[in-house]
Symmetry: C2
Subunit: 256 residues, 2 copies
């Protein structure tokens, strides 16, 4: 059997620790082609670069693996890979991550990791976003990598999979032995509220940092990713991008 | 009756022509507070600025209207407005646009205009994204503004509205008299394929522009935004952000 071709990307940049773990997972299963952002692209969502050109730089090449850096967004990286570098080959699976920080619940729409994962799923291959609930750049990714490997193996060995398929996988910040397993769940309803505190730079100019808190609108629901993560489970949410509020269509037709 | 407070933003930047039209629509109905990006933020999706600080600049103030520019993304603009500038007042409605270019179908997930519109809806006010199917910066926005006004009036005068409510409104590039009215519809299933042609800069370094084509997966369906736009209608798609692929949950539970 031919070895699978696995694509890897992330949003923390080509030098991030979690990205090295994602490369290691991918190498266990097959040949690896990776394109990651040159610099951090946290919070870049599904952004694409429209007003400046993109550059590709090969940063690493060894037997069975080639890694590029691209000076665009995570989604740019995916597009450069699938529509240029790999234009005549189709990967068998895509991994985005391991992200340093949660992408559960409504974070999915702000996340560069998940932007890239969703974009890869548009090429009709199974796509996985892996995120660890620890923002630190030296976070211990051991448990996240362990579960990432379980998910990737399940997808590569499955007889049939839904298509398109994009999984948002989040791993609690717990030692491996305290993790209770995988829970397939839905995205919890939530939103963010920001706290902007004006500061003054050395020239006296006012500036702000964006920093907020997530408000979970359904803290007691037991079928959400937030509940799973709070209770020591790895959350797996299948993701799709029909944003239509189908249930509102009929009432709106009366309005217009 | 107290005049409504209307928030306005966009993704083409504070100097864009379409933004001036959006301000004009808003002024017809109430007091206006606007925060728009300093520069173009096309394709910025739901991106937020996490690794650099934000600045706010008041660019215009007159009776009943104040306009700020923010050096972040469209979503940053919304957050700065709702969680800082307007922390003790809640607008009655939000307008994002008028965008220079389509945001129909899958474009909704790449769109900075719609990123901002969705973010505003998180504050539980009716939110509208307006996009004209003409990329030119000197596009004639007359017809788009006409229909934008119709939509805004309908929302402000409605007795009851779904909540949260976010409308993705796209206007064909046609003279007003050729537009056939408003159609409430759903997002067409589609994806993009890019065409990357390497070029050389004056120093011989290779670069790429991201440019692609949308592939509509259901060109014959008559209830989609693409169909409506192709047939001369203004498309109105209600938007929500539960990205869960609910129908895949059961089959995935068997996998893990």
């Amino acid at each position: 059997m031919k070895k699978p071709l696995i694509f890897v990307t992330n949003d923390d940049g080509v030098g991030a620790r979690g990205f090295q773990y994602a490369l290691s997972i991918a190498r266990k299963f097959g040949e690896v082609v990776a394109v990651a952002p040159e610099r951090t692209q946290s919070g870049m969502s599904h952004a694409i670069t429209m007003s400046s050109p993109l550059h590709l730089r090969r940063v690493r090449q060894e037997e069975g693996m080639v890694v590029y850096a691209c000076d665009g967004t995570p989604v740019d990286c995916v597009k450069m890979a699938f529509d240029y570098l790999l234009a005549d080959r189709r990967p068998d699976l895509s991994i985005s991550g391991i992200n340093h920080g949660s992408n559960s619940s409504v974070c999915v729409i702000y996340s560069g990791t998940m932007g890239a994962a969703v974009e890869a799923s548009f090429y009709n291959i199974p796509s996985v976003g892996l995120s660890l609930l620890d923002h630190n750049f030296d976070a211990d990714c051991t448990a996240a990598a362990h579960f990432g490997e379980i998910v990737v193996r399940s997808l590569l060995h499955a007889e049939r999979l839904p298509s398109p398929l994009c999984l948002n996988v989040n791993i609690p910040m717990l030692p491996l032995e305290q993790l209770r397993g995988v829970k397939v769940c839905r995205q919890a309803k939530a939103y963010f509220r920001e706290n902007f505190h004006p500061r003054l730079d050395p020239s006296g100019r006012e500036y702000f940092w964006l920093t907020g808190d997530m408000i979970n609108l359904e803290p007691t629901a037991t079928d959400t990713d937030e509940w799973a993560l709070d209770h020591g489970y790895v959350s797996v949410v299948p993701v799709q991008v029909d944003l239509t509020a189908h249930r509102q269509i009929d009432s709106l037709k009366k309005l217009f």
